[in-house]
């Protein structure tokens, strides 16, 4: 998937130009990361055809969806896109089941069963979406986007309302789903931990400009002047042969080997001093 998009937008500092060009290899999860108002959602909306760029070109799986130079704009209701909106966009007059059925009238029963299990929505099928909590609504929105079997899945802050357990189950499922279905996955987040852990390709946006892009270990490489006396927050722990913790420190992520004395004690959310930890750049999960 290739795209190049340019558009004048209002940023916090005033009028500015969003300018992003990138190529995304198949099977790669891309993260658009940056502070609020940096243009991330606008990029998703332009890819989906909900917002017209001043200039732009979008190519996916060999088809041109948009080319402003040739006046090509493929109708958005023919693009087969799964989109999870920040406000979830669940249809308030429908139940959870009706929302899913509306998205995919000839839905695959096996996929539906899988989705209901992973999102724990089976008991809520008959509930009105307006009666659900934020986390439940977010799960319905994700399930509704996936059941469409889209060729492009655009997720705008999709995990903000999920508890850690659901987050840890749903994220690998979505990534596996996209790999097996051949679906391109782009996730917008302002959360650095998510940006590092969810994707293989991170685009750091600020006021519409691409500051850095590449694998998380490059985009979030720690500065050279890091002091061992600094402390950071544990955002992820792996429990394999060599247990490691990913630490968020200012605008960098570090991966540390968990020392013997902290094994079994260190938890996500803990603040730790970096003294005497062996530090290495993070690897994407």
């Amino acid at each position: 998937m290739d795209f190049a998009l340019r558009k004048s937008l209002h940023f916090a500092s005033g009028e500015g130009k969003l300018d992003i060009t990138t190529q995304i290899p198949d099977g790669i999860t891309t993260i658009l990361w940056g502070p609020s108002g940096s243009g991330k959602t606008s990029v998703l909306r332009m890819l989906a055809g909900l917002l017209a760029p001043d200039q732009g070109k979008v190519m996916i799986n060999g088809s041109i969806w948009l080319d402003t130079s040739q006046n090509i704009s493929y109708p958005l209701n023919k693009r087969n896109i799964g989109f999870v909106f920040q406000d979830y966009a669940l249809f308030p007059s429908m139940t959870v089941e009706e929302n899913l059925k509306f998205a995919a009238p000839d839905k695959d029963p096996n996929l539906l069963q899988d989705l209901l299990e992973i999102t724990e929505l089976t008991a809520l099928l008959g509930a009105r979406t307006t009666s659900l909590s934020g986390g439940q609504q977010q799960r319905v929105a994700v399930a509704r986007a996936l059941i469409q079997r889209p060729q492009l899945l655009l997720l705008d802050e999709p995990f903000a309302a999920l508890d850690q357990g659901m987050h840890d189950r749903l994220v690998p499922y979505i990534k596996q789903y996209c790999r097996t279905q051949g679906c391109h996955l782009i996730i917008v987040t302002h959360d650095m931990a998510d940006a590092c852990l969810l994707g293989e390709h991170v685009i750091h946006l600020q006021e519409g400009r691409v500051i850095k892009k590449g694998p998380p270990r490059e985009v979030f490489a720690a500065g050279q002047n890091l002091h061992n006396s600094a402390s950071g927050k544990v955002i992820h722990i792996t429990h394999d042969n060599q247990p490691t913790a990913t630490i968020l420190l200012d605008s960098s992520l570090l991966e540390i080997s968990v020392p013997q004395q902290l094994l079994g004690k260190l938890q996500v959310g803990d603040l730790v001093a970096l003294d005497s930890f062996s530090i290495r750049p993070p690897t994407p999960t």
Binding site: A48, N77, F83, P92, M94, Q148
Partner: protein
């Protein structure tokens, strides 16, 4: 008091409200979402009956539908005269009541999050399916407001109806005209009855509307 003018008013209100809903739906949808330079012009034309004296509208319709004029002559030749006929009243009511139907629908569309419409389109649904299956059921309050206001406005119409329909018993003499007719004849007892029925009907229509609105708000909260 005769019952026929009241029944005729009801019939006119039912026919007008039904037709106007389907005419106004695409129009309100277009006004709410279209990015067109003509939108302001269309909005002004739709709202015109709100500020125009009904007699002005009635006069122009009378001229347009007159059998001696272009459009009126064509309709007359097709044996579909609109002056001093029930059909004429319906056409006049459609024009007069247009803003009462369109404005609440436009407000309803605009109050919905744009993501609802966008999500449906991205699921491959057409604009029509999106309108009928997603948008309309999500704005029941606005739809009900539009229907009740239109119905009540048709029942209460006077100026346009008198100009285009006159006062023909069983054909164009609706309740508001019958009231006027009874006052002219100094039959105040009958006039009081018509006035009371119209007053009660209007009050009950608004009471129903506000009660439903309160119920919807309670459900939402």
């Amino acid at each position: 008091m005769e019952i026929a003018p009241l029944l005729l008013s009801l019939r006119l209100a039912v026919v007008t409200t039904f037709l106007l809903f389907w005419i106004s739906l695409p129009l309100a949808h277009w006004i709410a979402f279209a990015d067109s330079r003509f939108r302001s012009v269309v909005q002004a034309l739709v709202a015109l009956p709100l500020v125009l004296p009904p007699t002005v509208l009635g006069f122009y319709l009378l001229v347009a539908f007159s059998p001696s004029q272009g459009l009126g002559r064509v309709l007359s030749n097709m044996e579909f005269p609109l002056v001093f006929s029930f059909s004429g009243l319906v056409v006049a009511s459609l024009i007069y009541s247009l803003p009462f139907m369109v404005q609440p629908l436009v407000s309803g569309f605009r109050q919905l999050p744009s993501s609802l419409r966008e999500a449906s389109l991205l699921m491959g649904k057409s604009s029509f399916t999106t309108l009928i299956r997603v948008l309309l059921p999500s704005m029941k309050g606005a739809v009900l407001t539009a229907l009740v206001l239109t119905f009540a406005s048709v029942i209460g119409e006077f100026g346009v109806v008198l100009m285009i329909g006159g006062n023909i018993a069983g054909e164009t003499r609706v309740a508001s005209i019958a009231l006027y007719d009874r006052v002219e004849a100094l039959d105040y007892a009958a006039a009081h009855s018509y006035a009371l029925v119209l007053l009660l009907f209007s009050f009950l229509a608004l009471l129903f509307l506000f009660s439903y609105d309160r119920k919807l708000k309670n459900i939402r909260s």
